[in-house]
Amino acid sequence: MIAPKFRSADNLAPSFVVELSHFTGPLDLLLSLIRDEQLDIYDIPVARIAEQFLARISTLGLDEAADYLEMAARLLRIKAQMLLPRADGEEAWEDPRAELVRRLLEYQQMREVVDLLEHRGEGRRHQFPRRWVPPAADITPLNAPLSLSLGELLAAVDRVLRTTKEPALHEIIPRALDVGGAMLTVRAVLAMRRSARWSDLVGRDAEPWQILSVLLALLEMAKLGELRIAQHHAFASVEIHRDAVSEAA
């Protein structure tokens, strides 16, 4: 069953949102449903109200729906709790609607204050005060103590924090590499033969730190001119030659 006031059939979603925008939130909508149905706020037929509530919010856009959906979920939970059988004479039974009733009353009370403020503010709105504003720059001496409200200070801090970038933090792990040792190995190998292959220097079961050590050693030695490195095509085996210059030396 759909609430009689539900009239989105001829108008699509946007106009329905306009209708819901009459309400300031789920509690407002709920109160209006209760009023329309002339229900007792202390004895709400939750099943019926939940159904109507869902019908009303069914075409809401996702953005505005969140607050209403939370209330819908709450209503359905209360509905479920009301259906649970309770033992006769069980005195500790707490009406699952109590919290909702309390919130509705609190909200209604606040609405009464809203009416009062609206009335007062509307009267005052039509009265103008003098509009003279002192030229602030001239009356504040240069070395006057800083006059700042807590709110202004916190807002300024927020602004500064927002413009400051998060510092980039890097975790530094000590490198357990042994480049020197690898260089000795490479020299020893090249002392015995003119050229070697990558696979001669790094065993199949070498650990990552050993592979890296050898790689760095080779690059370092190539830089120093002790050897030349060649790879004839991509992914081919790397050939390492004793450098001609050092050979001559």
Binding site: G25, D67, L105, L117, Q127, G151
Partner: protein, 184 residues
Amino acid sequence: MTPLAKLLEAALFAAPRPIPMEALAALDVESSPAAVAAALDELREHYDIDGHGVELVEQGGGWQILTRAEFAEAIERAQVAVRPQRLSAAALETLAIIAYRQPIGRAEIEEIRGVAVGSVLKSLHERGLIDIVGRSEGVGRPLLYGTTSQFLEQFALRHLEELPRADELAIALRGAGNTAVVPE
């Protein structure tokens, strides 16, 4: 008019905001507070009885000269001054909660209204109706909001106590506990 009433009128004319009673009394150290109060009455009657375009109003924590409401439309039409925009229903609800529960954090306001209030708080703050009055000791040390003197001024309130007390409202909360009637 007495010289004191004229002096008060001059000061009120010069002031951009409501002048508190103490500041009015400081205008003339010779005069007692009672004499200042009497002079204020004299000035108000002068405006009311002789028929002036302005009136003397007590609000926003002090006294202020305001134009009479009947001229607002003509003044606005001639673009001499513009009436402030009405607050939205959402803004009024939020303001009402803050007025009664201050200092109050955002989460509590949202609990009562049942909706997110971030943007409403921002616009109320920009309008100078609320201010940050501190931080709660709770988790995350959320900001606490309170109303300003600008709020009192815009809603023609002398002070916050002029709002009805919570238990004077038509719908007084029936205690905090479980008050719902248990259906048989």
